[in-house]
Every structure is written in structure tokens, then in C-alpha cells.
Symmetry: C2
Subunit: 138 residues, 2 copies
């Protein structure tokens, strides 16, 4: 019965499973299951980051970034400030609501990561992250 799924299949299965769980955890806070939590976390940890830097860091399409940022702004977690140096760009800052939420967000993400890796030792977790990074670099 041991399914011999190739890497790509596992990635697909785990991605969808992960999205489902995360959306459950984050729904009470108005954050969709998508990458929104990742965008928010990045803004909270790097106040004043440029929108297009988010796109690069998180490796989403810039359209996706635009919509995630718009959503976070509507929910009141962040605000957008036009960059004086480059008037095409926006700088992203947490609001007070965002700042207040940071500890909760970090805890939720930590708990979620612990949940999905609870069958792995510390060494295995680091090994897995390293292997995934290698795959990404192909």
C-alpha cells in the first residue's frame, strides 16, 4: 500500500492540505488562507518595506502582492505610504492593529509549523528545508 508518490505529487498534496489548515486558523482574524499571513508577517518585521520587495521575497506575482496588500489594508493591519524618492512605489507600514497582532501571528505560525512537522526531529526538519531549497534552485 505504500504509495510511491514522486516529489511533485507530495508538494501538491501538502500544499493543498496546508492551505486548508492555515485558512481555518487565520479565518477568525480576517486573513485568507493564501499568502496573506506571509505578506503581513513581512511588513510587521520590516516596516517601510517596498511593495515590490515583498513580491521578490515571497516569490509571488506582483498582481498577487497588490491584492494581498489591498486586503491587508482593508482589514486595517497595514497602511500604504507613497515613496517620496520614487513616486511609483509604495512603502508599507503596520498600523497599531497590526503591531498588536504580531505576537499572536508569530504564535499561530509557530504552532502551525510545529503541527505539520510534529513527526520530524529537529535534524529532519532542517534537512527537509535544505532539500526543498535545493529543489527550488533548479
Amino acid at each position: 500500500m505504500s504509495e510511491q508518490h514522486p516529489i511533485g505529487r507530495w508538494i501538491s498534496i501538502l500544499y493543498r492540505q496546508n492551505q486548508k489548515q492555515l485558512s481555518q486558523v487565520l479565518k477568525p482574524y480576517g486573513l485568507g488562507g493564501g499568502g496573506q499571513h506571509a505578506f503581513l508577517k513581512n511588513v510587521l518585521l520590516h516596516p517601510g518595506i517596498r511593495q515590490d520587495q515583498l513580491t521578490l521575497d515571497l516569490k509571488f506575482d506582483k498582481a498577487t502582492t497588490a491584492r494581498a496588500v489591498q486586503h491587508l489594508e482593508q482589514e486595517g493591519y497595514i497602511e500604504r505610504v507613497a515613496d517620496e524618492q520614487d513616486r511609483r512605489a509604495y512603502l508599507l507600514y503596520p498600523t497599531q492593529k497590526g503591531l498588536d497582532f504580531l505576537p499572536t501571528l508569530l504564535r499561530l505560525m509557530e504552532e502551525h509549523n510545529a503541527a505539520i512537522t510534529r513527526n520530524l526531529s529537529m535534524e529532519e526538519e532542517a534537512l527537509l528545508a535544505g532539500l526543498l531549497k535545493k529543489v527550488y534552485e533548479s
Copy 2:
């Protein structure tokens, strides 16, 4: 610069990157980048499989299976036959076009898998698959 992405983030990045590449490879054959290739492969290798068995094997929602199967039927790769034993169910069989396509599909999938794992040794690939399975089982 070495980003310390957690497992979940890597899964997300790799999933989207993978979908993109696969959809490019499979577009000429009328197969969307989604799970469609996986459904087709399963039907080709297990002629007469029940639709709901596909759902279980591939771990998609049954609605997604319904749509993938419908698409494969419209493209002429498979056909659906009502199960005489259980008139709610459908049995899925490859068409001649599907059978003819099997070698190509297997080759394409093999090439794709080789591409995404080209930075990994055989041992690392097996190790990675094992770790991903462990994560799945949480």
C-alpha cells in the same frame, strides 16, 4: 542572504513554481497544469478505476475530480461507463487516444521529475520523498 523559509513557505513556493512549469509542458496536449495529468495517469495505469477511488488516491476534493474527469473526457483521453453494480458510480477507461498518449505522458512526467530534482542525488531524492510523506502523516 540565505532565506530561512520554514517548511510551509517552501511548499507554497515550490507548488506554484511546479504548476507553472507543468502547465507549460502539458498545454500542447490539452491538459491543464492542475492535477489533470495525475488523474489521466491513474486511469491509464488502472483502467476501469472508479471515480471516487481517484479522489481517494490523489487526495483531491471529489468536486475537483469530477471536473478533471469531465475535462479529460472532453479532450477524448478517457470515457466514463456507468457501474452496473452500483449505479451511482462511474468506471473510467482510457480511449485509444489515451492509450496512445501513455508513453508520451510517462516520458514527460519522468523528464519533469528529473528536472526538478536535478540538484539532488538519488539518495537525497528518496530521503526527501520520505520526509514529505512523514509531514503528510501529521
